[in-house]
Amino acid sequence: MVANRKVDFKGTKDGFLIHISGFGTFEEIVEAIKVKLETADSFFKSAEIVGVDGFNFNIREKKILKHIIEKQYGLSVVSLEMVSRTSATPATPAAPVATMPKKPLVSPARKLSKNDDTKFIKGTIRSGRREEHSGNIVVLGDVNPGAELIAGGNIVVMGALRGVAHAGYPNNSDAFVASLVFNPVQLRIGEIITRPPEEEVMPEDPEIAYIKNGMIVIEPYL
């Protein structure tokens, strides 16, 4: 019973899943998750937890765990719903439900929760400054070359974007980046990195970048 106790953070394209195996009580799992996050240092910082595999938390446990993960370690919890492919029982933990082999790993709560927290920054973000936030970032000013914006959600620059922008960090491919003058040194959305074409095209209209068919596309949004 005690053998093979393990907590793992597995990256998926939507965020991290917590894999739990061989644990008895909720307290033991919490301890193991704390140890895991502590040893990983800031690796998981501003990462998104999208589900749990191998253990079914009740509502109270989810609340406690969410609090610990978000407040103590700076991750964002989208869902702690059990997503195991062999025994998916999200609504009623007690009642055994027919197994759904191809259940998507994403909870529907995810898309909504991304929009709930936005950081507003007023003024020019100059070279050497780095702004990180697990939700969205809105800049009321320019983002200059040498500056970096990293958001778990979307990035909107109400000015010129000339630095590096990473929306949907680390792996949210639904995020977008938009700005009035769209001229970033480098652009990252989720796990995809792109840079502007070599020839200089001065953008005139406000533009938006998002992922379409696994590629970042940039187009005017007005």
Partner: protein, 265 residues
């Protein structure tokens, strides 16, 4: 009570020292009492540009370590009434002075002088921190090159973080002919990115090389274009409204055209 102005840039070789020397001399010509401090300890230059190297006895490290009185270390420039230099130490490094000591030094000097100009070293390390520590106001020097503008942007961010709000910009070594051909960044390219007020545009001028090598600030040379630019900057620093910058370029450009014509005649 005077004002402490730090002249900084981030990147090296853009003309901080030349600007400090000319602004200092220019302010003295305007009848102000000025001290220029060389904060580039270990790589001192300001004394050479001002032609005062052979008169150094004591330096900034002697002053902050209380080896001598500030008055004893100050070198009076005999050509410009009211201009004094506090030289850097050449045999020490940036750690020989602390930020607190710089604050104390600046505060004591501004009791007596109208302007205290601090010539900041390149970089963003201890030397930079020292140089800006006691400043009330900052002037950022850049040249029309992407690398210099990038560094200026970084510096402006650091100045703002140290509560030196609204630094002013000097664009040095601009070549009007190249700007007109579109081969050099123009003024609006730079102000678009840096987003601060511009206080002067200095054309690329052979005269400045000659005068720097001779140790004579160009600001007193009535004929030279850069000298004229520095006189305008001086006036703007003391709060005079001097005609618009684009006009200054035009004027400089027209001067050049006139010169060519007069030559041919």
């Amino acid at each position: 009570m005077g004002e402490v102005i730090v002249i900084t840039s981030g990147k090296g070789g853009v003309g901080k020292t030349t600007t400090t020397a000319n602004l200092g001399a220019g302010l003295a010509l305007e009848g102000k009492k000025v001290v220029v401090i060389d904060a580039d300890i270990g790589l001192r230059n300001l004394d050479v540009v001002l032609g005062l190297e052979n008169r150094i006895v004591y330096d900034i490290v002697d002053v902050v370590s209380k080896t001598c009185e500030p008055k004893k270390a100050l070198i009076k420039d005999r050509r410009f009434d009211g201009l004094f230099l506090l030289p850097a130490a050449q045999t020490r490094d940036k750690d020989a002075v602390t930020e607190a000591q710089m604050v104390e030094l600046c505060n004591s000097l501004k009791e007596e002088f109208d302007f205290v100009l601090v010539d900041c070293p390149a970089g963003i390390e201890q030397g930079f921190k020292n140089a800006i520590a006691g400043a009330d106001r900052a002037i950022v020097v850049t040249t029309p090159e992407i690398s210099a503008v990038r560094d200026a942007d970084r510096i402006i961010g650091l100045l703002e973080a140290h509560d030196l709000r609204d630094p002013e910009l000097i664009v040095n070594r601009i070549r009007i002919d190249m700007v007109k051909r579109g081969d050099m960044m123009n003024i609006s390219d730079m102000t678009d990115i840096l987003n601060i007020d511009i206080i002067g545009i200095v054309p690329d001028d052979e005269q400045i090389v000659i005068s720097t090598n001779r140790g004579e600030p160009a600001v007193k040379e009535m004929e030279s274009m850069s000298g004229k630019a520095y006189r305008n900057i001086t006036k703007r620093v003391i709060g005079e409204e001097i005609p618009f910058l684009e006009l200054e370029i035009q004027e400089g450009f027209m001067d050049k055209v006139m010169k060519i014509f007069s030559f041919r005649r």
